[in-house]
């Protein structure tokens, strides 16, 4: 969204916002409930990411389409209705595609309804932007979330089960680090990723500052 005096971001910037600059998992730290709970394997993580992406894109598209006729008093009710609808659709779709995935994700499919990334995007972005722009932003956010989940799920599956996508990596002698697929493992791996991203970020900030100072010196 563009504030007065700020230039409208390009489509590419809209798309990349969710993948890097405002990554839902690593920067905004939103939607932690499914992030910690279902990322015991890479396959689970990707299924959850794709399901959330579908709900995110479809509901942002519809919210953006009806944004001009929704009175502000009933907007939250409208958004929740729209989001709940697409969650129900995705619920049936997953049951039709694979019951194994449906059982693995359990209640977290229905809980997409209350995933704050989706309501946040509907309220902060889709309600203020035309449909195409809202959809592009939502696709980026969804992919960013999927990448975040995969970063957790992949690491946890490799460490906790010695497998990736169910394929054994280290042979039968590998002693799995079971705690990694238990709830504490989710916290360990998430914390490690956050540490890495914050370290990269602070390094970048420091580099920027030195550059600015250096530029001034040079100009003087």
């Amino acid at each position: 969204m563009a504030l007065p005096g700020q230039k409208q971001p390009s489509n590419m910037e809209e798309f990349l916002e969710g993948i890097w600059k405002q990554n839902p998992t690593f920067v905004m730290v939103l939607g932690m409930c499914p992030t910690l709970a279902v990322t015991v394997s890479a396959m689970n993580a990707i299924s959850m990411g794709l399901a959330t992406t579908f709900v995110l894109v479809a509901s942002c598209l519809l919210v953006s389409t009806v944004r001009n006729i929704v009175p502000p008093q009933v907007r939250i009710a409208t958004y929740i209705l729209i989001i709940a609808t697409f969650v129900t659709v995705v619920d049936y779709a997953i049951q039709a595609i694979s019951l194994a995935v449906y059982d693995a994700l359990g209640a977290f499919i229905q809980l997409i309804v209350v995933n704050c990334i989706i309501l946040g995007r509907a309220e902060a972005h889709a309600a203020k932007n035309p449909p195409v722009r809202a959809a592009i932003n939502a696709v980026g956010m969804g992919i960013g979330f999927t990448i975040g989940l995969f970063a957790l799920g992949g690491v946890r599956e490799v460490l906790g089960a010695g497998k990736l996508f169910g394929i054994s990596l280290f042979g039968p002698d590998f002693q799995p680090w079971v705690v990694m697929v238990l709830p504490p493992g989710g916290f360990f791996v998430l914390a490690s990723w956050l540490l890495l991203f914050n370290w990269l970020n602070s390094r970048k900030t420091r580099a920027d500052r030195i550059e600015t100072v250096g530029g001034h010196v040079h100009g003087a």
């Binding site: 519809l62 729209i82 019951l99």
Partner: protein, 230 residues
């Protein structure tokens, strides 16, 4: 947004007539209703087919050699094909037939609370020998590496090669209730030797089987001949 300099929508808010709000919500709800119903109708066949495949796979796993599965209810009035909800006091079971159509075995579900959540198992019942001769796990959320030994631990699975579930003389209960005993102390054919370190999950399996068998077998055994062949 309005032409006013203030970016907030608040000053306009009171002007919205109630009818507009109801109209909008009604419109959105209608769209959502159509979407939900059409996706339900659209996926129904695939979902049912998936459930049937999953069930057949589970039954075939506990009854090797089966080729066809039928669902039935056993009630005090006899055996009836499973349609609609389970009748009062009835129990559901699956009859497995081989390729030639002869009855191969019976499978039923048992469920009991484990360490984390309900452990649901499917067990195979051999009517000729009156024993349970196979189990499979339908769903569980037990600790990986500990509770999941119930389907990987060979010594534990040995319990279910011929677990005695003979009916008592009055045909109302099992002659000996299925019981989980401490690891290494199994003495009788109706006892289950627990997994050391996964006792809670082992007990859940035993309890689930016992409850289900106590309910199902007295209803089923007198009517076994009516199952016939398919």
């Amino acid at each position: 947004m309005s032409e006013q300099a203030t970016p907030t929508a608040a000053p306009e808010a009171p002007a919205t007539p109630s009818a507009a709000m109801i109209r909008t919500l009604g419109l959105v709800a209608t769209i959502c209703g159509v979407l939900i119903v059409s996706s339900y109708e659209g996926t129904l066949d695939a979902v049912n087919a998936n459930k049937k495949i999953a069930l057949e796979r589970a039954v075939f796993q506990v009854i090797p050699g089966a080729a066809k599965v039928e669902e039935y209810y056993a009630t005090s009035a006899g055996i009836q094909p499973a349609t609609g909800p389970t009748p009062e006091g009835g129990a559901k079971f699956y009859a497995a037939y081989d390729k030639a159509g002869a009855i191969k075995g019976i499978a039923a579900e048992g469920a009991s609370k484990g360490y984390a959540d309900v452990v649901r198992v499917l067990f195979a019942y051999d009517p000729a020998k009156q024993v349970i001769n196979g189990i499979g796990v339908i769903s569980m959320r037990e600790t990986p590496g500990i509770g999941d030994k119930i389907y990987t631990d060979k010594a534990f699975l040995k319990n279910f090669e011929a677990l005695d579930v003979k009916l008592a003389a009055d045909m109302k209960t099992l002659a000996n209730a299925v019981k989980v005993v401490k690891h290494g102390t199994k003495q009788n054919a109706w006892e289950i030797d627990a997994i050391s370190g996964a006792t809670v999950t082992s007990k859940a399996v035993g309890r689930g089987i016992n409850e289900s068998a106590q309910k199902l077998l007295p209803l089923l055994v007198p009517n076994l001949d009516k199952l016939g062949s398919k």
